[in-house]
């Protein structure tokens, strides 16, 4: 108990504040302790969900064939809910508290509400896990979607609603902070707080959709209403089903701006453009969810084209803006201090041994190349026919939420261990190895998922189809080599994830306490604010520009390739 209590202890002044030796922010005890509480809970969910990553991957790798189909769907549901929802959402509340009161140097308002939110979220999370584990026939495992009219336990819908309500309550202190800060002034929020604010608004939209979807299904399961419409449920469900992943995206981008600055010395190259990109997200990103409905009956072509294309590209455009702005921030920041010339000297001389920096930069690159491009490509109405519900779709979202969000959040957890828990890593070497091993192995895993789906047509959500489809002479055996590579690298990726947990928890329990004022080796060379050099808009950004041109070329190549595959099909539809 005292070990846990000591995690929440720091040297605060009589007002409860201390100055962070890395960010220079004035941090209040109330904010810091809640960030730790939500962050620790998130890591527990990550560890728990990670166990099921192992069992699920080793089942899909039919060479091992670990679970029988019945347990497989239970494990898949636990994997999805703990990693896609609980790990991420607990982290996101922590990020809201960092992006709000911590960046603004305030105390946390409505503290009781914050704690109550945590309690309700935790109850909901435990409830969802229990309802999945206790599923009995005729009920089926919910997976992430719980599509009606598949019979799913009403306890599942009920506890999911409890979790969503808890999340709403936990977000209120953040909104109160922003309101207190901006009321009656003409103040412009710092970029990180602005990003967190947009994240918060998108989160509220998503949560309202989720409560509507699950309440609708719950009412049907407890016989309040006689029937449910699968199409209406899907429209409601995807407001949160995809919306929750948009929260991840915005939180991740906010973390990118934060961490590239504090560990890489990045600057903001244009406040106007970065903020405009966030506003684009506000208006357009939730419409991206419509790409799940592209091959549904009963949705008009005009509806699909408008939502997933014209409007959604408002969000894709915003992502392309950040794709330039964030590396450009690093390039400008480092060039201004004379750290590395030439085309990529600013990048090669960056602190790659710092796991916070490496995790952040890998997250940026892999999210863009693997997650972002595939998201836009599969979001085209015709290409979607070839991606929908195949293993390729699973590859896409592992590229976005694992290589992108989880990797960025891992960097943030390492950052919090040093700056808020004030602990040294138990092993700098192991900590430095985590982002390399995890990003490397997961990249191969996601690529194999995409190949298995697109090139071999392997469906998602099946326990076995590659060696054996019971009752059929047909199988997807051609994909066996792909699955061999998938399985081996899944083992490496999961082991790297376990290493992350070991280093994090080990550092919290056994890491040396950092002396006051020590930056734990996180600060970039030359400190956080190395002034001088040219004005930002005049700094040469040719390295970033080159990288972005490479990105666009890959984007075009993948786009053309996918369309080529579509046009090879037999004639379908009007």
């Amino acid at each position: 108990m005292s070990a846990i209590a000591s995690l929440f202890r720091n040297d605060y002044d009589s007002d409860g504040f201390r100055t962070c030796s890395v960010t220079g922010l004035d941090v209040h005890r109330s904010v810091e302790n809640h960030v730790k509480l939500f962050g620790l809970t998130a890591v527990i969910a990550l560890a728990f969900g990670g166990i099921f990553a192992f069992t699920v991957a080793m089942t899909r790798w039919e060479f091992i064939g670990f679970l029988d189909p019945g347990s497989y769907y239970t494990h898949l549901s636990l994997h999805a809910w703990n990693l896609l929802i609980f790990w991420m959402v607990f982290m996101e509340i922590a990020i809201l508290y960092v992006g709000g009161p911590m960046v603004l140097g305030r105390t946390l308002p409505l503290r009781r509400l914050a704690t109550a939110g945590w309690v309700i979220m935790a109850l909901g999370a435990v409830g969802v896990n229990a309802s999945i584990l206790l599923t009995e026939a005729p009920n089926e495992a919910p997976l992430l979607t719980a599509y009606v009219p598949l019979p799913v336990s009403p306890w599942f819908y009920g506890t999911a609603i409890v979790f969503l309500l808890g999340t709403t309550i936990a977000a209120l202190p953040f909104f109160a902070t922003i309101w207190l800060e901006t009321r009656g002034t003409r103040r412009t929020l710092p970029l990180v707080a602005f990003g967190a604010f947009i994240t918060g608004i998108i989160a509220v939209e998503a949560i309202l959709g989720g409560i509507a979807a699950f309440a609708y299904a719950f009412a049907w399961r407890i016989d309040l209403i006689a029937s449910v419409d699968p199409g209406i449920y899907r429209q409601l469900y995807w407001i949160i089903g995809h919306g929750s992943q948009q929260i991840n995206l915005l939180a991740m981008i906010t973390v990118w701006y934060f961490l590239t600055h504090v560990v890489g010395g990045a600057v903001v190259v244009s406040e106007k453009i970065s903020r405009t990109a966030f506003v684009f997200y506000l208006f357009f990103i939730n419409l991206g969810a419509a790409h799940h409905l592209l091959v549904d009956p009963g949705v008009s072509a005009g509806w699909r084209i408008w939502n997933t294309s014209y409007a959604f590209y408002g969000a894709a455009f915003a992502s392309m803006i950040h794709a330039f702005a964030i590396p450009a921030g690093i390039e400008a920041g480092r060039r201004r201090r004379g750290q590395g010339g030439g085309l990529f000297g600013w990048l090669t001389s960056a602190p790659w041994g710092n796991p916070v920096f490496a995790a952040t930069v890998f997250s940026i690159i892999l999210f863009g190349f693997l997650g972002g491009i595939t998201g836009v490509v599969m979001g085209q109405m015709q290409v979607n026919m070839t991606w929908h519900n195949t293993f390729a779709a699973v590859g896409h979202f592992h590229a976005t939420v694992v290589l992108g969000t989880t990797l960025a959040f891992m960097g943030l957890v390492f950052f919090v261990i040093k700056t808020m828990f004030r602990r040294d890593f138990v092993s700098e070497t192991l900590a430095a190895a985590v982002p390399y091993a995890y990003a490397g192995a997961m990249s191969i895993v996601t690529l194999m998922m995409m190949y298995a789906g697109i090139l071999y047509g392997v469906p998602r959500r099946t326990a076995e189809v590659v060696r054996n489809i019971p009752g059929s002479e047909f199988s997807f055996a051609a994909a066996i080599p792909i699955f061999m590579i998938f399985g081996l690298f899944a083992v490496v990726a999961i082991a790297s994830g376990a290493l992350f947990i070991l280093v994090s928890v080990g550092s919290l329990l056994f890491g040396d306490r950092l002396p006051g004022g020590d930056d734990g080796g996180l600060l970039p060379e030359g400190g956080l604010h190395a002034d001088g050099g040219q004005p930002i808009h005049a700094v040469e950004l040719r390295g970033t520009f080159t990288l972005c041109l490479v990105f666009l070329a890959v984007f075009i190549a993948i786009y053309v390739l996918n369309w080529y595959l579509v046009t090879q099909l037999w004639a379908i539809g009007a």
Partner: protein, 180 residues
Amino acid sequence: MSDPLKDPDDDWWNSPVNRRESIWLGLAGAWSVGIFAWMAGFTQFGDQNPIGTTYDVDPDRYQERVAEYKEAAEETEDGLVPPGDDVYIGALRFNWDGLPVVLEAGHEYDIHLGAYDVQHGFSVRPEENLNKQINLQVFPGSEWVIPMTFDEPGTYHVVCNEFCGQGHRTMHGRFTVVEG
């Protein structure tokens, strides 16, 4: 000031933008508009569009329709030969009612998709080229009519790619496409 943790300067809206960032905005914007135009245009000039007509239908009524269709179809060893241009398929746990079916290459059929119980996924590919595959969602309560013309003879396999219950992976059907 150019620090994401501090308030920006008063004139941040009017600060000059780096030339290369402006060029990138142009490229990214043009690409976004370009792929929109291609996708929308393909519905006019392309042959692969998941567009058809949907009717609301009671699942039991749809099941009757499939039964009537099966009654009218000719039964052969390779499957049903549809009586006309319409092909009815009913998804149920864990079977494709109406499959296997024998179709002629080069002939346009109206494929009717519906479900009797829960949501299913209609996923089709030729046996010898798995990367030519399509995937459509099937609902109870909807009858989705999608025209299709198979241009090459061969065996096409149909699996369910939406989780519809534990036996979901066994849900398999077949199209046999013969020379027209």
